[in-house]
Amino acid sequence: MPRRTTELLRGGALIVVATAVVLFGFGANNYQLQAGTTLAMAVVLCLAWNIVGGYMGYPSFGTAAFFGLGAYAGGIAQTYGLPMGLAWAAAALVGAVFAIVLGAILLRLRGHYFAIGTIAVVEVMREIANNWDALTGGAIGLSLPILAGSPRFAGIFFYLAMWALALLALLLTVAVARSKFGFGLRCIRQNEDAASMVGVDVFKFKVAAFVTSGIVIALAGAIYASMVGFIEPKDAFNILLSIEVPVMVMLGAAGTVLGPVIGAIVYVVLRELVWVNFINFHSAILGVIIVAVIYFIPKGLLREFSLTRWRKWTAPPAPAGQG
């Protein structure tokens, strides 16, 4: 199929899906709205993580750090009187600055050490939020001003806001995937030294990826905070989030455009269906899902069941003699 046609089809599909999402929002009941918003948030976080963890291959467990930072930055800004939109912009800015600083420090580490470093950051951030009472309200938490209007209005508003962010994240991912930047990230993932020798400014690319990812995650945190109206350190900086997001992306297929989306959808649906009936075993079930994904679907659903893989299986083998 000619390239132009696939592009048009993809664009068309996106418009159809977007319209369906919006219509659903207006027709849904409160529970469905909330579930839809949760799903949107998962999609956002997965797409954002995918840039650093999927394309670039750096195992970041720092998602919770940016999420909590965005939540608190947005929340604190709002308690000081800033209108919500500006508070969200402030959260994005804070996320960007934090990503630059953190990136400059942590991105020199590789593999295990990078992973541990990102976890440590989450823990430290949570403790700071817990103990810096004057700024964050401490362990008691922070209450945000509530959006004016009916609960239904608020529900639809945040639903649309989160899905708008999801669309932004998707378009960003597509742009990265097709650009020189994305190509460079993939080179970095496979062989950092070779990438450098071929002319890639590895450090700059790494920080740029970290910042892109960080801004989106921080925005998600800010929207989340405004939506729930109350945040506390152990929920905003929850290490479980830092684990769930990579697992969702891995489930879908890391390093692709749609993988994170599919992974998020499958995981959230599973969670809603199975979990609610087994509240006490909720972390055990997450554990089982993790083990199952790693043993049985390590490359992700998109790759294990892709059309190209099927074609590869059924195609004749590559020529043996390479003279």
Binding site: H112, I116, V124, V288, I294
Partner: protein
């Protein structure tokens, strides 16, 4: 006075050394981050407490039973589950073991409930150099140091210990020499679990233990290993004592609620500035 803080630091530091050495061993030899470590500590402590309190066995024997049980558990977990991902990138192995940890921890909370349990014994205190030291804590410290020392001896002087060190240095070369690497991995993991249980038993003498503490123990082990550096036992000792001192003095300077954070911040600093740890490259045992 200062001396009391130093003594406290040393007492808790020895426990910390024992806590971290199993984690360090597994990281050094298998090159994976054993996220189950904290849970192993709690599990080991619980087996010890169960034996001592419900079966009426003496605390020391109970601790040994705990160690033995955890060794077998660790061996099986590695052989059956973790061996598949031993060579995988850190992201995969870390997440998998995290998943297993969620499972086991949740099961523990359901089975044992989150009520803290302990083996608190009151043997009173003794006075040494003008300091008041609880005998139970001294006992725990002694137990921790003896076991850590035993591990060091094992690694240097026994055949299995030397095989483990060989695998740590170069797993391919070790395989070529006829060492059965998967078996060494499983035994090492078992020993790591054993040391966790030992630490659990020692800690139970001094603190109440609950499954909710597994994360704390794991976090401290991370910090200790990074602080202490690459040698398995010397690293754990240096790191453990350093953290013990840090927490002891940190309470005065920062207040007790900041002590965990200070540990993590210091860890980040060491990671970035001096990744070989405070002790530097200190050999393979």
């Amino acid at each position: 006075m200062i001396a009391q803080y130093v003594a406290n630091g040393l007492l808790i530091g020895s426990l910390y050394a024992c806590l971290a050495v199993g984690f360090s061993l597994i990281y050094g030899v298998l090159n994976i981050i054993n996220v189950l470590h904290g849970t192993f500590v709690v599990l080991g402590a619980y087996v010890t407490i169960y034996c001592a309190q419900l079966l009426g066995i003496s605390p020391l024997i109970s601790a040994l039973v705990g160690c033995a049980v955890m060794f077998v558990f660790g061996y099986l977990v590695q052989r059956l589950l973790i061996n598949e991902v031993v060579a995988a990138p850190v992201f995969i192995s870390f997440t998998l073991i995290f998943g297993l940890d969620l499972l086991v921890n949740n099961a523990m909370i359901q089975g044992f409930t989150a009520t803290p349990r302990s083996l608190l014994v009151d043997y009173g205190s003794i006075s040494l150099f003008g300091l008041s030291l609880s005998v139970a804590r001294l006992g725990a410290m002694a137990l921790a140091l003896v076991l850590t020392g035993a591990l060091y001896w094992l690694l240097r002087h026994s055949q299995m210990g030397r095989a483990i060190i060989a695998v740590r240095m170069d797993r391919h070369a070790a395989a070529l020499l006829g060492i059965r690497v998967p078996r060494v991995y499983a035994i090492t993991f078992g020993i790591g679990a054993l040391m966790a249980a030992a630490a659990g038993g020692a800690l139970a003498l001094v603190y109440p233990i609950t499954p909710l503490l597994s994360g704390v123990f794991l976090g401290k082990s991370f910090v200790i290993c990074v602080l202490g550096g690459l040698g398995i036992v010397p690293g754990a000792l240096v790191g453990g004592l350093a953290l013990g001192m840090l927490e002891s003095f940190g309470t005065i300077v920062f207040g007790s609620q900041w002590s965990t954070t200070v540990g993590f911040v210091l860890m980040l600093l060491v990671l970035v500035l001096r990744p070989t740890g405070l002790a530097g490259r200190k050999g393979y045992e």
